[in-house]
């Protein structure tokens, strides 16, 4: 009530309180900018704090690979942790890389959502002494120390051809159900498969390559069409997870079940029921658990200085044995892993 006594006083009060507000905000701003001291990375000889940063959390594939990483890190006495965004975007990964750099971790094991968008934050991490290992999905080579490659095109093509020719007794007609007609990976594999078939399997005839566009319904329909068009078909190869699952779904409910062989690249959770009911004998992919395990040991080797990313560097990755760094600072996990009735229940992704 005292402040209400005159209009002039009111004006002064108003100006004063606005002024106080402005000063308070200014103080807050300067307090923010000047506070604290720069973060120092943890001391000690070997920094075995290794953090996995998958494309996103809650993804069964990365749960499996990171489990392998955790086991590896435990085996050599390091500190394992896993962080990541809820959705697979590059900008969210940037925030996590920045955070990890500040926390001074020894190494980041990363599956990148974008080959370049993480660049500047990874460069900052590297200059702060953090080792960068990519797995599953690489960045531009200049931003990381080593890429752990799950499989090569040659390895995938070979396992596909070997599986299908073995299943059909190395003689008869086969077809390929691919993803999109312009899918880079699939086309590279199919070319290699054609060469391998021509050179080593003269009695196997490739009738057709059809494209299911990585769409479940299209792949399903293309499978049906293949079986109608080529009554002598003995085997189908589908080097895409969507295609192989759709083809298996068709075969399992048709008269061709058990008569036409199917193999391809698939995931255990999609293929489990078809392996168990006998539609599919086996299919290939890499083992994500081993991939995570190898990536963790690669990070350790970088922290130790055993390897620097130079071609020809060698290191030992626990139970997986000895590995050599190849071209473009890449470590290859090995041949694709074949899933069948006996081992499929050990995997959940």
């Amino acid at each position: 009530m005292l402040l209400h006594s005159s209009t002039r006083r009111k004006g002064v009060t108003r100006a004063l309180s606005i002024g106080v507000g402005v000063v308070a905000i200014a103080l807050l701003a300067t307090a923010c900018s000047s506070g604290g001291s720069p973060g120092t990375s943890s001391s000690g000889d070997k920094n075995y704090k290794i953090t996995f940063l998958p494309k996103n959390l809650g993804n069964a594939y990365f749960d499996t690979s990171d489990k392998g990483g955790a086991a590896a890190i435990k085996s050599f006495g390091g500190t394992y942790s896993e962080v990541g965004p809820a959705t697979a975007t590059a900008d969210a990964q940037v925030s996590y890389i920045n955070t990890l750099t500040q926390q001074g971790v020894g190494a980041i094991v990363l599956s990148a959502n974008d080959p370049t968008a993480l660049g500047s934050s990874l460069t900052q991490a590297k200059s702060a002494g953090v080792k960068i290992v990519t797995f599953d999905s690489d960045t531009d080579p200049k931003y990381r120390d080593v890429f752990v490659n799950q499989a090569t095109a040659e390895g995938i093509a070979k396992v596909e051809v070997d599986s299908i020719t073995k299943l059909i007794g190395d003689t008869g007609e086969i077809a390929i159900l691919s993803a999109a007609a312009n899918a880079t990976n699939q086309n590279a594999w199919i070319d290699l498969m054609k060469k391998d078939l021509a050179a080593n399997h003269p009695n196997v005839k490739l009738d057709a390559v059809v494209y299911g566009n990585d769409d479940d319904q299209t792949s399903f329909d293309k499978t049906a069409a293949l079986l109608q068009t080529y009554p002598n078909l003995k085997g189908i190869v589908s080097p895409t997870t969507v295609g192989v699952a759709a083809a298996a779904r068709y075969l399992s409910t048709s008269a061709f079940k058990g008569k036409v062989q199917l193999t391809g690249l698939g995931t255990p959770n999609q293929m489990r029921s078809y392996v168990k009911d006998g539609t599919v004998t086996g299919f290939a992919l890499w083992n994500p658990e081993d991939l995570g395990y190898l990536a963790a040991f690669t990070a350790k080797a970088l922290v130790d200085g055993t390897i620097t990313g130079k071609t020809g560097d060698t290191f030992t990755a626990g139970k997986l044995g000895k590995f050599t760094v190849g071209d473009k600072a890449t470590v290859l996990l090995g041949d694709p892993f074949v899933f069948n009735k006996d081992n499929i229940d050990k995997f959940n992704f």
């Binding site: 962080v83 590059a90 968008a117």
Partner: protein, 352 residues
């Protein structure tokens, strides 16, 4: 009841000003929604600096501001739109479209400065489409901008597919990441602060800005008071489009990558921050300093929780709860106020 009758006497009404019945200005500032958000921000900063390792460093501040910049930018015009009682859900898609166009043009050999101008024009066009459909055609903004959210994103993804364009001039990319001396404050904040000041002046100290607030309170009253309702809304949507495109340029340069899926879902972060800052979703209420504090509060919380190794799901849960609490609290306060205050004789009532 007597006082209502006396209120109709011209002599009494003439003398009345806000200060006669309202709280003194310092009190209105202190107990406002905006002050509460600023106070929460200060508390979180102090607690995080004390408790969370590595939080109180210039590096944290730099990353935090770089991360918050796109949200901060778009929140400014979004405040204007929401204050009029409308909403714009297409901002993140406009950002993505602007990013893709910057990439496509740069790749085609267009100088980047010129490409940036085109991006801003595309943003202007995008905002104008929203504004046209809302004001001239008279469709509800929620429906219109859900449509353009899909439309602009569709064009962006259609132009680039799943590929990314990554070759941008080093000068511009470095400029976006550069900091002022050793403070940890990114250079780009200068632009942000200038825009904050412009938008604050426009919203709070110009007839156009006050018209937007009046419009949010009551469209008819505003129209009868001389506010050109459609023009005001149209301008608010155009501003949102242009600033979203600007945020798209920033996004592209910061991450060095033009992709169709850049900033998917960012519109929700922006709207969340605006509402947290005290702007009413029904329009007619809000202040820009609250919005800025709201954006920073979410940014600081997320940064501190990440540094404290809290998982991303938990961070989302905390942010969500905070938002709900902030929307509920004024209602709760109003309710308790209603219980406490009774009309007292002798005190002048506010003019109706």
């Amino acid at each position: 009841m007597n006082s209502v009758e006396t209120g109709l006497e011209p002599k009494q009404a003439e003398r009345r000003a806000v200060a006669d019945y309202g709280n003194p200005v310092w009190r209105r500032w202190l107990f406002s929604r905006e002050t509460a958000v600023i106070a929460a921000l200060v508390v979180v900063v102090i607690v995080a600096s004390a408790v969370v390792p590595y939080f109180g460093t210039p590096t944290t501040l730099a990353f935090l501001l770089l991360d918050a910049t796109p949200i901060l930018l778009i929140a400014l015009p979004m405040t204007l739109v929401i204050i009029t009682g409308e909403i714009d859900l297409s901002v993140a898609s406009t950002l993505g479209l602007s990013s893709v166009i910057l990439g496509v043009l740069t790749k085609a050999g267009v100088p980047i400065e010129f490409a940036m101008v085109i991006c801003l024009l595309v943003g202007l066009l995008a905002g104008a489409i929203n504004g046209f459909l809302v004001t001239v055609v008279g469709l509800p903004s929620l429906a219109v901008t859900i449509g353009t959210l899909a439309l602009f994103r569709g064009i962006a993804v259609g132009l680039l597919g799943t590929t990314a364009i990554t070759n941008f001039p080093v000068f511009w990319q470095t400029l976006v990441q550069m900091r002022l001396g050793t403070t940890g404050i990114p250079v780009v904040m200068v632009l942000v602060i200038v825009l904050i000041i412009i938008f604050a002046v426009v919203l709070h100290f110009t007839p156009f800005g006050r018209g937007l607030v009046a419009l949010g309170l009551s469209r008819d009253t505003a129209a009868f008071s001389g506010v050109n309702v459609n023009r005001a809304k149209f301008i608010a949507f155009v501003l949102t489009g242009v600033v979203s495109a600007l945020a798209g340029i920033y996004w592209t340069l910061r991450y060095g990558s033009a992709r169709g899926d850049n900033a998917v879902g960012l519109e929700l972060s922006v709207i969340a921050a605006v509402l947290l800052g005290g702007v009413s979703i029904f329009g007619g209420k809000g202040a820009l300093h609250g919005v800025v504090a709201g954006v920073l509060l979410i940014g600081v919380l997320q940064s501190a929780l990440r540094l404290a190794n809290v998982s991303s799901d938990a961070i989302n849960i905390i942010t969500g709860v905070l938002l709900i609490v902030s929307v509920l609290s004024p209602r709760f306060l109003a309710w308790t106020k209603g219980l406490r205050s009774r009309p007292r004789a002798g005190e002048p009532h506010p003019p109706l």
